[in-house]
């Protein structure tokens, strides 16, 4: 196990109280695998990744749990120790390639900064060579010239490639990709996913892929964790999840993927209702208000995450074999 998260809880102080954005979640990432974390916005998936990286905003704080990376708790590391890990052993790419690069520096300087920060003895010349090599690896044409570009001279897809080159420049063990394709055109999305897949093979790293798009998951991931309102509601191998989704929320997400081969004229499925206000969570299952198969017990009690077959599911339907009915 490369990364193991145990009971992670992250809270945000807001004007009218405290929001628990991540509520005691546990999962792990194996070496060399791509783990997808899926959920709507507000499900806590991005906060999870920012908690691992120690990049939470001022009003956010990890209030419980452990983040074990290679067996060591990142939450117990000093700022300097974390700085040595970030960008070197764990690196991250973000949703907005258009704004994630510093507009006033050439792309080569931004990549070289990462390399030189973690390789103090390397000369600038070597760092530049490595930078150009990385740009070539991520598929940027004529990298010697494009290295001198400023971010605004590049397209969104190119910028995301630069971000990937930067993140991989120190050959990390874990890459956290937070919605890396959401802001891009569909054709570019596929290319970037393909690139991530390739890079995983090439550098033999693990990837934690955060997305709201199950289509992306189906293409790239090995294992899936589905999050809703700061909790894990289901997790399974990707094949098993698509073949036999269990939690009504997972089912809803799957049904709302548009399919080309779908000839029926029925409108696309949508999960009814909205994510509940994080300040006023219902006492029972947070999905109960939107669930097609909601029962009495769902509104009163919170279900536990328990193994059902080869899945982990948080739903009363599977407690007493209710699902079979």
């Amino acid at each position: 196990m490369l990364l193991e998260i145990k009971n992670l809880t992250t809270e945000f102080k807001v004007k009218h109280g405290t929001v628990r954005a991540v509520n005691g979640i546990s999962f792990h990432v194996n070496e060399g695998e791509i783990l997808a974390i899926v959920g709507e916005s507000g499900s806590g998936k991005s906060v999870t990744s920012l908690s691992i990286m120690g990049l939470l905003q001022e009003n956010g704080k990890v209030t419980g749990g452990e983040i074990l990376f290679k067996g060591e708790d990142l939450l117990k590391k000093s700022e300097a120790e974390m700085q040595a890990i970030k960008g070197d052993q764990i690196s991250m790419i973000f949703q907005e390639p258009m704004t994630s690069l510093n507009p006033v520096y050439r792309v080569k300087d931004q990549i070289m900064e990462n390399i030189l920060t973690h390789n103090k003895n390397m000369s600038k010349k070597e760092a530049l060579e490595r930078t150009i090599e990385m740009l070539r690896t991520v598929g940027i044409p004529s990298p010697e010239e494009r290295a001198n570009d400023y971010p605004h001279q590049m397209s969104g897809g190119m910028r995301q490639r630069v971000m990937i080159a930067m993140a991989l420049s120190c050959e990390p063990d874990l890459l956290i990709a937070d919605e890396p394709t959401t802001a891009l055109d569909v054709t570019i999305q596929a290319q970037i996913l393909e690139l991530l897949y390739e890079m995983r093979e090439k550098f033999n790293m693990s990837v934690m892929l955060i997305t709201h798009d199950l289509g992306v998951v189906a293409e790239a991931a090995d294992r899936v964790v589905v999050m809703y309102c700061g909790q894990i509601v289901e997790s399974a191998e990707v094949k098993s999840l698509f073949a036999k989704p269990m939690h009504p929320y997972t089912l809803g997400l799957l049904k709302s993927i548009p399919r080309l081969e779908d000839e029926s004229k029925e409108p696309l499925y949508m999960i009814k209702g909205m994510v509940p206000n994080p300040l006023h969570m219902p006492p029972g299952c947070p999905f109960s208000d939107r669930c097609d198969r909601c029962m009495e017990v769902c509104r009163k009690k919170m279900p536990e995450l328990r193994p059902v077959g080869d899945h982990l599911v948080r739903c009363f339907l599977y407690e007493n074999g209710e699902a079979e009915k």
Binding site: M82, Q83, G87, N102, P103, Y105, T117, H152
Partner: protein, 338 residues
């Protein structure tokens, strides 16, 4: 970049022409006849007529303007009604004093304003932040001449540690040189005179800089808060670089773009403020001289001063715009391509 610079310089011509026209209209067309003021109410009609003739004030107004423009281009602004010295000579004798004061003030305001603004943004909602907010509020609310007066009462009247007027003790005054006493005394190695000139500069600099300091602090703070929230700052942090480097290298470098513009604009209010500061501290620069000339209706001097200050101001803003383009590659490169 060069093309852009040339274009900007060419654009200055109509502005400066406009400034000359405005100044000329105010001083020569709308102002009352200066003859009775200069010669005294009781001078004879003939004497006044002769005086007007001598100063070209009886020529058709359009001719007067063309003459004024033609001469101004060669740096000739006529002669003072009182001293009969060329206006340019009178101004150049006082110009270095104002330049020295203005440079000290803008340096002080920029350095401390940016420093204070960055610290308050990074330590948002702490005692430092509140203190700098209060300082900024006081800075924009206090008339600079009153601040000058308070400084004199405190440091000259009560503590007796700083001189209240002038630039330097007459004995120590450097001869020749640039007229910038700090520079002249330093290059000639006269440290006693340097110290004395510096002591004379402290209070006028503080009084003149305060308003700009407040504006620059506020602007830096809000600009830094803005950039610190940008995605690329998060990217920088994810690279594991030190937070000091994140603030300086990534956030401040971007925040400097709008701050530079504000510093340039502050130069204008500073040149205006020099008029008041120089009056309070009897600083022998062009600001206090202008006030005296207005009171005496010495119009050629006033025209020249306003035109020169406006020229300096637009030139500084041109330089600021070029720095701006240099700081922001998005502008530099789109300008070159376009």
């Amino acid at each position: 970049m060069i093309k852009y610079t040339i274009k900007r310089i060419l654009l200055l011509i109509p502005v400066l022409f406009g400034v000359s026209l405005v100044v000329f209209l105010i001083m020569r067309v709308f102002s009352p006849d200066p003859a009775p003021v200069v010669l005294g109410e009781h001078a004879s009609r003939e004497a006044m007529q002769a005086w007007r003739n001598a100063h070209g004030l009886n020529d058709p107004i359009v001719w007067q303007f063309i003459d004024f423009l033609k001469n101004a281009l060669t740096g000739n602004f006529g002669t003072s009604y009182y001293t009969n010295q060329p206006v340019m000579k009178e101004i150049m004798a006082r110009f270095p004093a104002t330049v020295e004061l203005a440079i000290c003030a803008i340096l002080f305001a920029s350095v401390f304003g940016v420093l204070l603004g960055v610290v308050s943004a990074v330590r948002k909602n702490t005692a430092v932040d509140y203190a700098s907010t209060i300082l900024a509020l006081i800075g924009v609310s206090m008339p600079i001449f009153w601040l000058g007066i308070l400084l004199i009462i405190l440091f000259s009247g009560t503590l007796h540690i700083l001189p209240s007027t002038g630039r330097i003790q007459p004995m120590l005054q450097p001869v020749g040189g640039t007229g910038l006493y700090l520079w002249d005394t330093l290059t000639s190695g006269d440290f006693e005179a340097f110290g004395d000139a510096a002591r004379h500069l402290i209070m006028p600099t503080l009084a003149l800089a305060m308003y700009s300091l407040a504006i620059i602090t506020r602007m830096t703070r809000s600009s830094m808060l803005d950039t610190l929230n940008q995605d690329y700052i998060r990217t920088a942090r994810s690279k594991g670089i030190s937070s000091h480097r994140v603030v300086k290298h990534h956030a401040l470098r971007n925040a400097m773009i709008p701050i530079t513009t504000v510093i340039g604009l502050q130069f204008g209010s500073l040149l205006g403020g020099a008029v008041l500061t120089e009056t309070v501290f009897a600083w022998p620069g062009i600001g206090s001289y202008t006030v005296q000339c207005i009171q005496k209706s010495d119009f050629p001097v006033v025209q020249a001063v306003v035109l020169i200050i406006a020229t300096v101001y637009v030139l500084i803003n041109l330089i600021v715009d070029l720095i701006y383009a240099f700081l922001d590659p998005r502008i530099k490169y789109s300008k070159e391509e376009g």
